[in-house]
Symmetry: C2
Subunit: 134 residues, 2 copies
DNA sequence: ATGTATGCAAAACATTTGCACCTGG
DNA sequence: CCAGGTGCAAATGTTTTGCATACAT
């Protein structure tokens, strides 16, 4: 049961939190907007306020349970932080999100920050792409 | 005169447009928010509506005169598109923005997109950093 | 003259917050 | 019981838009 995840994060086990976790775990889309989660909850018969969804997601983010991404288009998308680090490729035609990792890029980023006297706290790499026409 | 830039972009040469270009060219900060530009204009005695600033920036973006970036923090920053491509490092302590280029990273990105059957239309790489404490 | 630009106020949008009420442990 | 969570509505902050007026060419 994911109730444990919540307890481990120091969060009370409540219905909104459990259901939101459930939606994020079982959704086809790994990357969901707050609104998307809100609608998915409705479809499953759970009517929580949108404000609650936002609050829960913010707490989850703070607890390291989810990552928030700010892709273009003005709204945040959230994904379960159940995998190791990766970056994103967003298809501009279909909206599809592809994940990828490249250790060499990660390493180069570290080197660049280091060279300037900084350490990386966080980073965001997003490729906006289109299917090859060929 | 930068009036030519505007004409080349197919835009009428108007006072707001000229002054906004001027501010962006002469500001200490290369990366400005719409509000920041609005305030800089006021300081120079030009009172245009904030809506105009946004509209002009949107047109400039469309014309390729400026780039818009969506760093964390909810608001866009704009910079003159007068340099070749580069990525950004944002200091979380000071808000300072450092630009950098790394051809190897650029190349790796191309390879990754290509490997997945896509071509890159645009990309965003931002490192959120802190000064090395050492 | 005439198609665009602008100004202002109002709308839109995603997100956050205040506060009274509920609930998990 | 009581700290903390939730619902709702209202506030927020950024950006966009509608419409009447002003301007560049």
């Amino acid at each position: 049961m994911q109730g444990q995840h919540l307890r481990n994060a120091g969060l009370k086990v409540t219905s909104p939190r459990l259901k939101i976790l459930e939606v994020m775990e079982s959704s086809d889309e790994r990357h969901l907007s707050a609104e998307g989660i809100y609608r998915a909850l409705l479809e499953r018969g759970h009517e929580f306020g949108l404000a609650t969804v936002y609050r829960v997601l913010a707490q989850f983010e703070g607890a390291g349970l989810v990552d928030r991404h700010n892709f273009e288009g003005g709204m945040s998308v959230f994904e379960l932080a159940d995998r190791s680090h990766h970056d994103h490729m967003v298809c501009l035609e279909t909206g599809k999100v592809i994940e990828f990792v490249n250790d060499r890029i990660e390493q180069l980023q570290e080197e660049i920050a280091d060279r300037h006297g900084y350490t990386i706290e966080d980073h965001s790499l997003v490729l906006y792409v289109r299917p090859k026409s060929s």
